[in-house]
């Protein structure tokens, strides 16, 4: 479990991974789902990356596309989940 993760560090890791998935670097507030390049396998890869890299679990109630559609939104989601995990320890 990572603790005290910095927003910039999380954002940088997510930007690098999303760029590898869509084949180009999106803007931090750009909706990469709008590009139409995100298929089911890419979605799985993204969720698996987030879970493994940041030690969180993406549950059914987290499956709001708004949590995942941009790098900045995904960063906020990860920080919220890691803060929750830290608080519960």
């Amino acid at each position: 479990m990572q603790t005290g993760v910095e927003a910039d560090e999380v954002r940088g890791q997510l930007l690098e991974f999303v760029s590898s998935l869509v084949g180009a670097e999106p803007g931090l507030d750009e909706d990469y789902f709008e590009r139409g390049l995100f298929n089911s396998l890419a979605a799985l890869e993204l969720v698996a990356f987030v879970e493994h890299r940041f030690g969180i679990t993406v549950a059914a109630e987290d499956l709001d596309l708004d949590n995942f559609r941009t790098v900045n939104r995904l960063t906020a989601f990860v920080l919220g989940k890691t803060a929750g995990a830290d608080a519960s320890q």
């Binding site: 995100f38 396998l41 799985l44 499956l63």
Partner: protein
Amino acid sequence: MTAPLAVRATADFLPERVAKVVDLPELAELPADRRQACLDLGIEQVRADPRYDAVELAANAAGKVLAETGARPDALVVIGSRAPERLMSSEATRLQALLGLSDALTFSVGGLGCVSITPALLTARGLLAADPALDQVLVVHGSRPPTPRRYRHPVTVSGDGGQAVLLSRTGPLRVLDMVQATNGDYWDLYTVRFRDLPEGDWREECADPRRYSFQLAVEGRLRLRELYRELLARNGMTTADVNCHLSQNLSAGAFRFTEEVLGVRLAGACAENLVSYGHLGPNDILLNLSTAIAGGELPPGSRAVVVNASPVAAWSLLLVEHVRDDTETHYL
């Protein structure tokens, strides 16, 4: 332990005429990226034969299984077609008449897309458990796409095919257990509008492709993992007790999705049938099981888990066992 259910025999009717995916007329009306997505599905051709409607496809398969086994089933359970030829009339009793099964308890089930095979099997198991005098149930389905366009973006290409499954309490393929889950939030994710539209304008439309490719995909990951864990746990098994994994046939990408979600390898029978027949709705999984048995991928004494999912949204897993009993007649 659940009530006993076993497959005595199956037959598939796959009409002769073939349509190559690359020649599908709807590809000409698609933008380049969608056309390429269709060609990348892993489907080379499908059976496409306008001489048969869905009921006739089912009747041909049922005729084969009845002729091969000499069975006289006590019940006929019809999985309803996606787009019946007529409203008001009954596909189930039409099949009853075509098959001459005048004494068979006859009705339809469905509503879950390709997962509709599971309620059919659950119904058969329930009938056999409830009535000791009832010995054989025939489940049939004729699969044709609901519109003239066979490509459902970005999911699959649908072919034509009929299937009949003869079930009883004993048989060469025991259905040890079944689990199913549904989420009605997705009930209209894929729809075909047809009122006041000529048939040529009917299309399978996804209301929200992003919801399909993200939300449903990730929920499917959670659901399938939980169902898989539940299925094995309640039967006192681990993955080491399962020799073979199968799924329905949507695309090569969908196979990879299932493999990644469950951490398993799917049997070669799935890709073999996908490339030649495309998607046959509720008929896929038992076609794949038959192919796996014929190809030695599920030898006697071994077990398989069969995965099915539908965008309505429904998920289902079956746990089956190929019985080690050479005295049984095999029509699988």
